[in-house]
Structure formats: structure tokens, C-alpha cells
Amino acid sequence: MMAPFFKYDLFGDEFSLIVAVLIGFGFGFFLERAGFGSARKLTAQFYLIDLAVFKVMFTAIVTAMLGVFYLSWMGFLDLSLVYLSTTYLVPQLLGGALLGFGFVVGGYCPGTSVVGMATGRVDALVYGAGLMAGIFVFGEAYPFIEGFMYSTDMGTITLPQLFGVPYGLVMLVIVLIALLGFWAAPSIERYFRNKLTEEV
């Protein structure tokens, strides 16, 4: 059996929706259990006093990266059928900065705001309302920003292609960066917590 199952027609649209719901519940559950339903926990990341977001996300990235690589290496997954979003460098840099700004101000990213809403947090509900308003504004403004949105098109490029190095080498570097981060995280957290208490 080869993955992706949907693209190999092993199940259709309806079943894929059921699968999506199950994965969505699982994702939300683990985000909540990691404490990511709380804006306090999430914004602590930006003050470098609690690097849980970094640790959870990088653990997920390393696990998924190694998993995807070995599954396709062993022939269980056809990676060329897995969707890669196109890189539009400048618009995506700007979008990333906007999202980061919203993250610090609002205390959530879009996914975690839904987790916060599910547990009945009022700030998450307000954030969700802002999210919907933003989608509406984006939709209305689309004709004016469409040209910019699709500018600096780099195609579906990956890091190994960009740097011209083997896929495995990029993985090793990312794993080492993650481990270095995990190793340094407690000291960073301690340093900035102390600094904060000194200031207060």
C-alpha cells in the first residue's frame, strides 16, 4: 500500500473528510495538552521565558521530517505526490511578519486560537472574530493585492534544491539545530525569567 492514500484513490472525498476530522481532533487535543490553548503560554515564547512552543514545534518537525523521509525511502510513500505550496518570497515574508505581529499582540496563532475557543476562552473568541474579519477584508481586497501575492514566484522549491545539497544533509543540519535549541532552552528560559523578575 502506498501513501498518500487519497491521491492513490484508496479512499474518496467523503472518507477523507472523516480522516480530516479525526486528525483535527487529535491535533487540537495535543495542542491543548501542550498548553497551547493559553495565550499566556504562547506569548511567553516571544519573551523567551518559556520555550515550550519552540520545543513542541521542533519536535514535531524533526519527527515528521524523519518519518516522511524513511517512509518514502522504504517505498511506503510517494513524496512527489505530497503537495508542496509554492514559494512567493516577498509576499510570504510580509505575511509571516504580519502573522508574527498578530501572534504577539493577540496571543494566538490561527490554529491555537481554535483550541482556545474550544476550551471556552473569551480572548480566543475575540481573536476568532478578528480572524473572520481579517478573512473578509482579505477577500474584499483580493483584486488589489493579487498581483503582489503571486510576485517573486520561486516555484515549489525545497531547501535541498535551493542549496543544491542532498536531502539527507539538510535533515541532519535541522536535527542538530533542533537539539542545540533543546539543549540551550533551559538556560535561555532561566536567564530571561531572572531578568524579568529583576525588572519587576
Binding site: Y8, L66, Y70, S72, T86, P166, G168, L172, V175, L179
Partner: protein, 215 residues
């Protein structure tokens, strides 16, 4: 707070596993390139069920309706393509086909002069896992006979004449010219291919299709 964390020993073991797995794979590539696995029975059944092609008339109908949810690929040489091609068709030679930017959720219609190249291309794309690939039945030859230059044999019955009137409109839409008279004359008279791109709502050089996938 530190009670819920796994003991440090486990963190070191997980870290070591990640480093080992990444180190083993250095130099590896998860993309399998152009090597594919084929389900020959499935392909055979698709051909048997005759769902691997569209007729020239069906394609003409699609274009007249202004539908843009298909990619039409012209597999002939660039010089033939420059002389004439079906509106909105893109020119790709067989050798370049596997690396041509196509998406697996697109309907791809292939044509060449006859049917050989499009049949080969159909097989290549199906083998690569493209589900919506169709050949233009009879190729560009059929497009000329049925769409551009439809013919009405002498002594046709009224039903055929009524049908021919419709074909005339289709033909004119694509810049062709219908023919009337006895069938034998047609082959002798060289037909004038439409030189200019016929007016069409279909944009000829399409930009890359925007995806609805992703997060």
C-alpha cells in the same frame, strides 16, 4: 512541574535516535525520480472501459462553452504547433512531458497528429499517477475532419443536413470551413488551415493554476 517531564535519560535517547536516523540518511533522496510502479491490470481496465479518450466534438463543445478546467497538450513538433494548434493547447514534446509542470488534479487532454504519440503520452502520465488523462480520439486528423472541415456528402437526408448546420457553426467558431459535395473530392483538395488563432474565450498561454490544496 518537572514531574510530568520525561526523565532526562529518555530525552538523550530520543536525541540520539534522531541524530542516528539523520546521519544514516545523509546523501539519501526520498524522491524516487522517474522510476514508477505500474498497476497493469488497472490500466488495461481503463482502456477496456473506453474512458481514456474524448472525441473531437466533445473537445470542441468544451472549448465553445469556454471551459478552462482542462489542460490541452499538443505533442507535435514546435514547427507544426506554430502552424496550427487547437485553441488553448500547450506544446510539449514527449521527451519533456515527464518534467512538464502538470498537477494531478487536472484534466489533461493529449493530442498529436494521429493517435500514437498521444497514446504513448497517456501511458507515461498514467504511469506517473495522473488520474485525469485523456487522448483526443483520432488526434488532430479527427479534429480537422470533424470540427474544422466537416463534410456533407451529396444526397444526404434531412436529418444529416440539420446536424451539418450545427457542425458548420462549430467549424466557423474555430475558423474552419465546412465542405459539401462527394466524399472523394476532399482528399484531393488541400485544405487551408486557419492561420490566425480563432477568437476564443480560452486564454492561450495560461499561467500556473492556483492550488486549492495546502493549509
Amino acid at each position: 512541574m518537572s514531574k510530568s517531564r520525561p526523565p532526562w535519560k529518555w530525552n538523550w535517547i530520543f536525541a540520539a535516535v534522531a541524530v542516528v536516523l539523520a546521519a544514516v540518511s545523509v546523501g539519501g533522496d526520498p524522491y524516487r525520480g522517474h522510476v514508477v510502479t505500474l498497476n497493469t491490470k488497472e490500466l488495461g481496465m481503463i482502456v477496456d472501459a473506453k474512458v481514456d479518450h474524448v472525441t473531437a466534438e466533445e473537445l470542441a463543445d468544451r472549448l465553445i462553452q469556454g471551459r478552462t478546467d482542462q489542460r490541452i497538450l499538443d505533442l507535435r513538433e514546435p514547427t507544426s504547433y506554430a502552424e496550427y494548434h487547437i485553441p488553448s493547447a500547450e506544446n510539449v514534446v514527449l521527451g519533456d512531458l515527464v518534467d512538464y509542470p502538470l498537477y494531478r488534479n487536472e484534466q489533461i487532454i493529449l493530442y498529436s497528429d494521429g493517435g500514437i504519440h498521444s497514446a504513448q503520452a497517456w501511458f507515461l502520465l498514467r504511469a506517473q499517477g495522473f488520474p485525469g488523462v485523456y487522448m483526443l480520439l483520432g488526434g488532430l486528423d479527427a479534429w480537422k475532419d470533424e470540427v474544422l472541415f466537416p463534410s456533407l456528402p451529396a444526397g444526404a437526408d434531412p436529418e444529416l443536413i440539420a446536424e451539418f448546420d450545427r457542425l458548420v457553426q462549430v467549424s466557423q467558431f474555430f475558423g474552419g470551413s465546412p465542405r459539401q459535395g462527394s466524399g472523394e473530392d476532399f482528399t484531393a483538395t488541400p485544405v487551408q488551415m486557419p492561420t490566425v488563432e480563432p477568437p476564443s474565450q480560452v486564454p492561450v498561454a495560461r499561467k500556473k493554476k492556483k492550488h486549492k490544496e495546502g493549509c
